[in-house]
Amino acid sequence: SVVIKGSTTVLPIAQATLEAYMKANKGVQISLSGGGSGDGIKALIDKSTDIATSSREIKREEIALAGSKGVKPVAHVIAYDAIIPVVNPKNKVQGLSTDQLSQIYQGKITNWKEVGGDNLKIVVISRDSSSGTFESWDHFVMKKSRVAATAQMLASNGAIVTAIAKNKYAIGYLGMGYVNKSVKGLQVNGVTASAQTALSKQYPMSRELYMYTNGEPKGEVAKFIAFIKSPKGQEIVKKEGFVPLTAFKEGKKAGK
């Protein structure tokens, strides 16, 4: 039996693929937990999981710690994700620049009218500073500056969707898979996020999603990872709203 643990962002992909995989391979038992990217990697290092999912790259200290326990994390990129700023559908604003986003998140821009919207206060909503999504946001948008302390820090993508959907003041950001009709995705630097634009790097904020194993995967684990990377698996990735690897390859081809 296989244990998967880690990033909440990767959860939907992991769950949908493992359901499909188990349907095809009766008798295989796979369990899946969230908790977070750090939790997953921690579990990999304790050897309490077979696969750690992560929405960020493993950190240097984590590699060191793993090494000291005889664990050798191996990364498998299984999909791409675009991080999309989102607002309430009632908000007039259609797009922002990364600079504006940074200003808003630092608490320097505090009213929507400063960026072309109505005269409304901006309520800044962020993911928890320890989440992988936050880290990507930090990397792409904030650079070295800090998110204002007054920003709401919600513990999950789901909480952000719920909050933004009901709140006309709010701005937040989500992994692409979580953007649905109840919230409005913004253009960034004039580019609308889509699989295409993310792949072509036109859309500036996209990241890899990983599965880590201890050493090269063997047996059922290897088969499962292969399944995700297969066209069938990537079909599911796409259905869950993320950017599939295959499309990336196609995109590359198209770009050439």
């Binding site: 500073s129 007054t150 820090m153 909050a163 003041y169």
Partner: protein
């Protein structure tokens, strides 16, 4: 003699059980310290407690939990502000005013309500109260102090009410009779004799309610909003300590400074509950009235 040995063996078996319990409970405290203390090699105690910046993942990171402490204190204080009057008054209602025939039922209902899982209350606050509050009052956010406080109050009320009721019920009948026999009305007897006599139990109830509210995790994780800043009004979001632990522990790299700092927050919480319990112990001894006249 044989029986005496048997007697002793049994005694030591019980002792062993008690010891295991106590040791385990001690271990909990110990593990908190073991995992939490290393943070103080990086940050001084006063910077940790009084620092206003909580950026555990930034580079360089800041580990100041003052705003988290403030968040916990404000949310708890407000919850108590709501829960204590309601809890104590409803206890008075059940103990002294409700018709005898339905007393038992009311008491059971209150006890039942103490069992509503916190995740359910958190869910209710997040999915129902927050959007409602935000739209009705046109607030920037429904995930705020007042929402969290109301939910925590709902959680603390059964505890406060049920234990206060026990205390009121335990007030010796002689005190009541003495008061009535002097021509006091029911209200006067309740206000001047029964409640003062039950004060020890009521204060214990309140402190237990506070302890429960201050350590409650799921509710504040789901409805307090999570902003690690010192709030300007009760409609702002805060990030109480337990919420921080629960939200960040999953992501914090094992053995890192962030990880240790979360355990250190656990230590702070532990000391807070310890303080409340010591106060409760002190109060219940101070207000303790020997049940009836001692001869």
């Amino acid at each position: 003699m044989n029986r005496k040995i048997k007697e002793n063996i049994i005694k030591y078996i019980f002792f062993a059980f008690a010891l295991v319990s106590i040791i385990v409970l001690g271990l909990i405290v110990l593990s908190l310290f073991r995992e939490g203390m290393p943070i103080f090699k990086l940050v001084s105690l006063s910077d940790f407690l009084l620092g206003k910046d909580w950026y555990p993942t930034s580079d360089p990171a800041s580990f100041g939990i003052f705003s988290l402490i403030v968040g916990s204190v404000i949310v708890t204080f407000l919850a108590i502000f709501i829960a204590v009057p309601l809890g104590v008054l409803s206890a008075i209602y059940i103990a002294e005013i409700a018709p005898a025939s339905i007393k038992e039922i009311f008491k059971s209902v209150i006890e039942l309500l103490a069992g509503i899982p916190s995740v359910v209350l958190g869910f209710f606050g997040m999915v129902i109260i927050a959007p409602w509050m935000q739209e009705t009052f046109d607030l920037p956010t429904g995930l705020n102090i007042i929402n969290a406080s109301v939910i925590l109050a709902i959680m603390a009320i059964p505890t406060i009410s049920s234990i206060s009721e026990d205390a009121l019920y335990a007030v010796p009948n002689e005190f009541k009779e003495a008061s009535y026999a002097l021509g006091a009305t029911r209200f006067e007897t309740i206000a001047k004799v029964i409640v003062p006599s039950a004060l020890s139990g009521i204060s214990t109830a309140v402190i237990l309610g506070i302890s429960r509210a201050i350590g409650e995790t799921m509710v504040v994780l789901m409805v307090a909003g999570g902003a690690a800043a010192i709030p300007g009004s009760i409609f702002d979001s805060v990030r109480p300590m337990p919420a921080s632990i629960a939200a960040e522990m999953g992501e914090a790299p094992f053995g890192g400074a962030h990880y240790h700092s979360l355990f250190a927050i656990g230590i702070v919480l532990f000391f807070l509950t310890l303080a409340f319990n010591l106060i409760a112990d002190y109060l219940s001894h101070k207000f303790h009235q020997s049940g009836s006249a001692t001869l």
